[in-house]
C-alpha cells in the first residue's frame, strides 16, 4: 500500500481547511491537503460573514461585528469564536492579503457590516466581500435596475424587485426596474454564461439592451455570473461600459462567487507547494497513545496511508461529511470524537426559527489550541486540531458567522502546528 508523509495533513478543502493549509505552509511546513469533496464554500455566497445581528436586539444588524463578538464570548464562552478571539483580526488580514495577492481582493466596510441585496430581494449583513459584490449606498440610488438573462434559471429580477421594496431602505423616489436581457435562445447555465462573458462575446449585447434603461444615479444588479475567476474584472468592465455601478448579488447554488474563492485559495496553495488531493476520503485514523500517527485514505486507485506529525480535521458538519447521523445518534466520521449534542432536541418545530435549528450547533468541543477535549477538558488526541463547521456551539445560518468561524479557526490551526506538535 502506498504511504505518503507530510508535516501537516489537512483533511477537508472547505474554507477552514484551505486557511489551515495556507497558514501552515507559510511557516515552512510540508503540507498535504486531502478532501473527498469541495465542501460548503462553493455553495456559499463567497462573502465572509463574521457576525450579523445585535445580541440584545436580534432584529438589528450589528454595526461593529468584532465588538459584538467580544460581547458574545462573555455570554457564550463555548462559541468557537471564544477559542480564536486572539487571532481574529490577524486571520482576517491574512485572508485579505492572500486574496489580494491572487487578484481577488476582498473589501471591508470600515469595520462594520455590509448590507447586501440577495436574489430574493432581502438584505443580508456580511463582513468581507469580493469587490464585485460590494454594493455601496443602495439607499442613495435614484434607480435600481435588476438585470436577469432569458434562459438563466434561478434568477428572477421581478422577484428581487418585489421584495427589495419591502426589505431595503431606499429613497422614496427610487425607481426599481426588472429587465431580462437576451443573449441567445438556449438554456443558460451560470458557469457557461460566465465563460461567454469572459470571452467578451456577449458584452455588447448586454450593454445594448441595458444602457437605454439607465438614468442618472442608477445602480445595476446582476446575478452572480459576471466571470468565472475572482476580481472585479467583469463587473468593472460592465460598469465602465454602462457608466454606472454594477454589482453581483448572492444567489442559490450553483453560484459562482464561492466557487471563485475556492479556486483562488487552491491556486494559492499550489503556488506555495501544498500538495492537494481531491476525491479521496479519509476513512480511519491510527492512534498510538493519544497521538495520531497516520490515516487510511480511500482514493480512486485503492487505498493509501498518510503519516503526519500534525493533523487538522476540517471536515465540516453534516453537509461536509465531518458529522454523520443515523437513527441512533451522531458521530464524528474519522476519529470517532465525542459529538456535543446537549440535552436539546435535534430540531425545533419552526423551520425558520430565529433561534436556529439545534443540529447546526452540534460538533466537537476543543480547547484554546483547538485540540479535541472530553467533558473534563482532557485532550483526546494531542496532535489533532479541529476547525470550522465541525466545531460545537455555533449556529451559523442564524448568527451569520459560517465562513468567519471557518476562516479564523482554520488560520489558528495553521498557526499552531508547531506548538501542538511540541506538546
Amino acid at each position: 500500500m502506498m504511504n505518503k508523509k507530510a508535516d501537516v495533513l489537512v483533511i477537508g478543502a472547505g474554507l477552514s481547511g484551505l486557511m489551515a493549509a495556507a497558514k501552515a505552509v507559510e511557516q515552512g511546513k510540508k503540507v498535504l491537503l486531502v478532501a473527498k469533496g469541495m465542501g460548503a464554500l462553493g455553495l456559499s455566497s463567497g462573502c465572509i460573514d463574521l457576525w450579523g445581528y445585535d445580541i440584545d436586539q436580534p432584529d438589528q444588524v450589528c454595526s461593529r461585528p468584532l465588538q459584538e463578538i467580544d460581547k458574545l464570548i462573555q455570554v457564550n464562552p463555548h462559541h468557537p469564536y471564544a477559542r480564536v478571539r486572539d487571532v481574529l483580526e490577524e486571520s482576517l488580514d491574512f485572508f485579505r492579503k492572500i486574496c489580494a495577492e491572487n487578484g481577488s481582493p476582498y473589501l471591508e466596510n470600515e469595520g462594520g457590516n455590509w448590507l447586501l441585496p440577495t436574489a430574493l430581494g432581502t438584505m443580508r449583513p456580511t463582513y468581507l466581500v469580493p469587490a464585485s459584490m460590494a454594493v455601496k449606498s443602495l439607499e442613495e440610488a435614484d434607480k435600481i435596475l435588476v438585470v436577469g438573462f432569458k434562459g438563466l434559471k434561478d434568477f428572477y429580477p421581478d422577484v428581487l424587485v418585489a421584495n427589495l421594496q419591502r426589505n431595503a431602505e431606499l429613497k422614496p423616489s427610487c425607481k426599481l426596474e426588472p429587465v431580462l436581457v437576451e443573449v441567445g435562445s438556449e438554456e443558460l447555465k451560470p458557469a457557461a454564461l460566465a465563460h461567454r462573458l469572459e470571452r467578451g462575446e456577449i458584452i455588447d449585447k448586454i450593454v445594448q439592451q441595458v444602457k437605454p434603461l439607465l438614468s442618472p444615479g442608477a445602480v445595476v444588479l446582476f446575478p452572480p455570473v459576471l466571470g468565472s475567476s475572482g476580481g472585479a474584472g467583469m463587473a468593472g468592465r460592465l460598469a465602465d461600459e454602462l457608466g454606472c455601478p454594477v454589482y453581483e448579488v448572492s444567489n442559490i447554488p450553483p453560484a459562482l462567487p464561492g466557487d471563485r474563492l475556492q479556486k483562488t485559495l487552491l491556486h494559492h496553495l499550489k503556488t506555495r507547494g501544498v500538495e492537494v488531493i481531491i476525491g479521496s476520503t479519509v476513512t480511519t485514523a491510527h492512534l498510538e497513545g493519544n497521538r495520531c500517527v497516520k490515516v487510511t485514505v480511500r482514493c480512486l486507485s485503492g487505498t493509501m496511508t498518510i503519516s503526519a506529525r500534525v493533523f487538522v480535521l476540517a471536515t465540516g458538519s453534516f453537509l461536509g461529511g465531518g458529522l454523520e447521523a443515523d437513527i441512533e445518534g451522531i458521530k464524528e466520521s474519522i476519529f470517532n470524537l465525542p459529538v456535543q449534542i446537549g440535552a436539546e432536541e435535534w430540531s425545533v418545530q419552526e423551520f425558520l426559527d430565529l433561534k436556529g435549528q439545534p443540529f447546526n450547533k452540534f460538533g466537537i468541543a476543543v480547547n484554546d489550541h483547538l485540540q479535541p477535549v472530553d467533558e473534563s477538558g482532557q485532550v483526546l488526541v494531542k496532535n489533532l486540531m479541529v476547525t470550522g463547521a465541525n466545531l460545537a456551539g455555533c449556529n451559523y445560518p442564524i448568527e451569520k458567522c459560517g465562513n468567519g468561524v471557518a476562516l479564523a479557526t482554520g488560520y489558528k490551526a495553521g498557526k499552531l502546528v508547531e506548538v501542538v506538535h511540541g506538546e
Partner: protein, 533 residues
C-alpha cells in the same frame, strides 16, 4: 352573494369528487365545497394502494368483494391514474400457517385471484425482501395516484356543468320546517361569506363528517384514526408487498414510480386535523418494516406523513344505515326526520366510486330524477395521444414528457404549446419530479390555485429528495406575474417550507439531515429569510 344548485356536496376528497361526477353525469346540478385545496384531507394522505381486497378477505368478506369489484372497474375507466403492478402477500417464518390457509380460501370466496408463486422467484426479482419468506401469493393489487383520480373526477364533472369551490368552509347548514334549504360558506382566503341555496346537502367530509352533522344538531359517530406513512426515495420492490397475517401496523410496502411508501400505524385521535407524524411512529414502522426488508436503514427516507381515517361506528339509533360494513350511507330523513341531508362515511379510497354511486342513487331518488349511474362505464380520463407525446418529448425530453402527460392528462396539449412557443418555459423547475416551468405556470393560473402547496399537489413539484428547497424558490419566479398571487413572497415560501419541514423532521438523520442543513444554508445564510419582511 347567493348561488343556487340542486345539491351541495361538502368535502373535496375522493368521495365528494366521486359524488360530484356521478351527479353531473346524471344531469343533476351540484356544487362541491372544500375548505382547503382539493385532496386537502385524507385522500392525499394515504398509501396509494388500490386494494385487491386480499387484506380484508378473512375479516370482512363483503368489504373484500367490494374492493376487487371496484379495483377492476377503476383499472378499466382510469388506466392513466393506476399502475397495475400487482401485489404479493408473503407469509414469513413465525407467521401462523393456518391463517394462510384461511386466507387462501377466503380470497377464493370473495372472488380475488390469489395465486401461489415460487418464493425463490420472488426473492430473485425483489432482492430487497427478506429470505425469511416462506410462502408468497400474487394478487391484483395496484398502485393508484390519488391526486389524479380526484382531478379526473372534477374535470369530468365540470365538463357536465358541475361547480367546485375550494378554500371555502361550510360553516352553517340552513333548514326550514324540517328541510335543508342551503349552506353558508366562509372563504378562508378573503374572509367573505356566501350562501348557496339548495334542495339537498351531502356530507362527504370524511373524518370531519361528525362536525358537519353537528351543524344541524345531528350525531354521526366517526372514529378518527390516524395513520403514519414513510416515503423512501427508492423503488424497493417491483410489486406491492403485504404481510400475510391478520392486518396490523407497518406491513404494506407500495412502490409508486421511483419511490416506495411503507405504512401504516393506527391511533385514535381527537381531531381530523391531527396529521402530524411523530418520530416514535417512524421508529416503530421501521422496526416492523425491517422484518420484511432487512436492509431498510440503507434506503433513503424522504419524509413521513400522516392521514386520519374516517371509521364509521353506528350509534344506538342505527336505523337507516345501509349497504355495507365498509361504509355507511346515512339517510337523515329516515333516521332523524331531516329532509334533504345525507351523510356518506367510512370506506376506503378503493371504494370511493361505489360509495358515490350509492349516494347519488339516493339523491336521485329523492330529487325524483330518473337517471342511471354511468361512472362504471364512462372513462375517467382520455389516454394521451401518441402524436402529442411525441411533441412533448421534443420540448421536455422523454422522461419529462411522460411524467407531465400522466399528470396533466387533457391539459398536456396546452402546456406543450406554451413550451413550444417560449423556450424559457422548457426550464425544469423541479428536477426530482421533472416539472417544467410551463407546467407550473399553467397550474398557477388555475382558478383553484392559491399557494405553493396547491401547485405542489397538482404538479408534484417539491415532492422529491430536496423537498422543495430549490423548486420552492423557483416557483416564485413563475408566480410573480399573476395578480392573484398578491401576498408576500415571504408568506408563500415560509408556509410551503414549513409544511415540508413537518414531514422531514420525524426522519431527520442521514441524507435528510444533510439536505436540511443545505436548505437552512440557502434560506438563512444566503437569503436571510428568517428576518425577511
Amino acid at each position: 352573494m347567493t348561488d343556487k344548485a340542486q345539491v351541495v356536496i361538502i368535502g373535496g376528497g375522493a368521495t365528494g369528487t366521486g359524488i360530484l361526477r356521478d351527479l353531473a353525469l346524471r344531469g343533476i346540478s351540484a356544487v362541491l365545497v372544500e375548505q382547503g385545496d382539493l385532496a386537502h384531507g385524507t385522500s392525499s394522505r394515504f398509501h396509494g394502494l388500490l386494494h385487491s381486497g386480499g387484506r380484508y378477505a378473512v375479516k370482512d368478506k363483503e368489504a373484500a368483494r367490494e374492493c376487487i369489484e371496484e379495483n377492476l372497474i377503476l383499472c378499466r375507466i382510469a388506466p392513466s391514474c393506476i399502475e397495475p403492478i400487482g401485489g404479493l402477500f408473503v407469509e414469513m417464518q413465525g407467521d401462523d400457517p393456518e391463517y394462510t390457509e384461511k386466507w387462501v380460501s377466503a380470497c377464493a370466496e370473495a372472488g380475488i385471484n390469489a395465486e401461489e408463486t415460487d418464493v425463490q422467484e420472488v426473492l430473485k426479482s425483489n432482492p430487497a425482501l427478506s429470505s425469511n419468506i416462506t410462502r408468497a401469493f400474487k394478487v391484483p393489487d395496484c398502485a393508484v395516484d390519488g391526486f389524479r383520480i380526484l382531478w379526473g373526477n372534477v374535470n369530468s364533472a365540470r365538463k357536465h356543468g358541475a361547480k367546485v369551490i375550494t378554500y371555502s368552509k361550510v360553516t352553517k347548514i340552513h333548514q326550514e320546517n324540517g328541510s335543508v334549504t342551503g349552506v353558508e360558506l366562509l372563504n378562508k382566503l378573503t374572509g367573505e361569506k356566501k350562501t348557496i341555496e339548495c334542495e339537498m346537502v351531502v356530507n362527504a367530509a370524511g373524518a370531519w363528517a361528525g362536525e358537519v352533522a353537528a351543524m344541524v344538531g345531528l350525531e354521526v359517530n366517526v372514529i378518527k384514526d390516524k395513520g403514519t406513512l414513510l416515503a423512501f426515495n427508492h423503488r424497493m420492490m417491483n410489486k406491492i408487498v403485504n404481510r400475510l397475517r391478520p392486518p396490523g401496523d407497518g406491513d404494506i410496502f407500495v412502490p409508486h414510480g421511483t419511490i416506495t411508501i411503507l405504512g401504516t400505524t393506527s391511533q385514535t385521535v381527537d381531531s381530523a386535523d391531527a396529521n402530524k407524524p411523530e418520530r416514535q411512529e417512524v421508529l416503530d414502522l421501521l422496526k416492523i418494516g425491517k422484518e420484511m426488508v432487512p436492509e431498510i436503514e440503507n434506503f433513503r427516507l424522504v419524509r413521513a406523513f400522516a392521514g386520519v381515517r374516517p371509521l364509521y361506528q353506528p350509534g344506538s339509533s342505527a336505523t337507516g344505515r345501509s349497504v355495507s360494513r365498509g361504509f355507511a350511507l346515512l339517510d337523515h330523513q329516515q333516521m332523524d326526520g331531516l329532509n334533504g341531508f345525507v351523510s356518506i362515511v367510512g370506506g376506503k379510497f378503493t371504494t370511493f366510486r361505489l360509495m358515490a354511486e350509492r349516494t347519488a342513487d339516493l339523491v336521485a331518488e329523492k330529487l325524483a330524477v330518473d337517471a342511471p349511474c354511468r361512472t362504471a362505464q364512462e372513462p375517467l380520463t382520455d389516454p394521451v395521444p401518441e402524436e402529442l407525446l411525441k411533441r412533448g418529448k421534443k420540448v421536455f425530453g422523454i422522461p419529462g414528457a411522460k411524467k407531465a402527460a400522466e399528470r396533466l392528462g387533457d391539459d398536456f396539449a396546452r402546456v406543450i404549446e406554451e413550451a413550444e412557443q417560449n423556450a424559457e418555459k422548457r426550464q425544469v423547475f423541479c428536477e426530482c419530479e421533472m416539472v417544467s416551468r410551463a407546467e407550473i405556470d399553467f397550474v398557477a393560473r388555475d382558478e383553484d390555485c392559491h399557494t405553493l402547496g396547491d401547485i405542489r399537489r397538482k404538479t408534484r413539484m417539491g415532492m422529491g429528495t430536496c423537498q422543495g428547497t430549490f423548486c420552492g424558490y423557483r416557483t416564485l419566479g413563475a408566480l410573480n406575474k399573476y395578480e392573484k398571487f398578491a401576498r408576500s413572497h415571504r408568506e408563500y415560501l415560509s408556509v410551503f417550507l414549513q409544511k415540508r419541514w413537518k414531514g422531514i423532521r420525524p426522519v431527520l438523520w442521514g441524507q435528510q439531515l444533510r439536505e436540511a442543513q443545505l436548505a437552512l444554508g440557502i434560506y438563512c445564510s444566503l437569503f436571510g429569510m428568517e428576518r425577511m419582511k
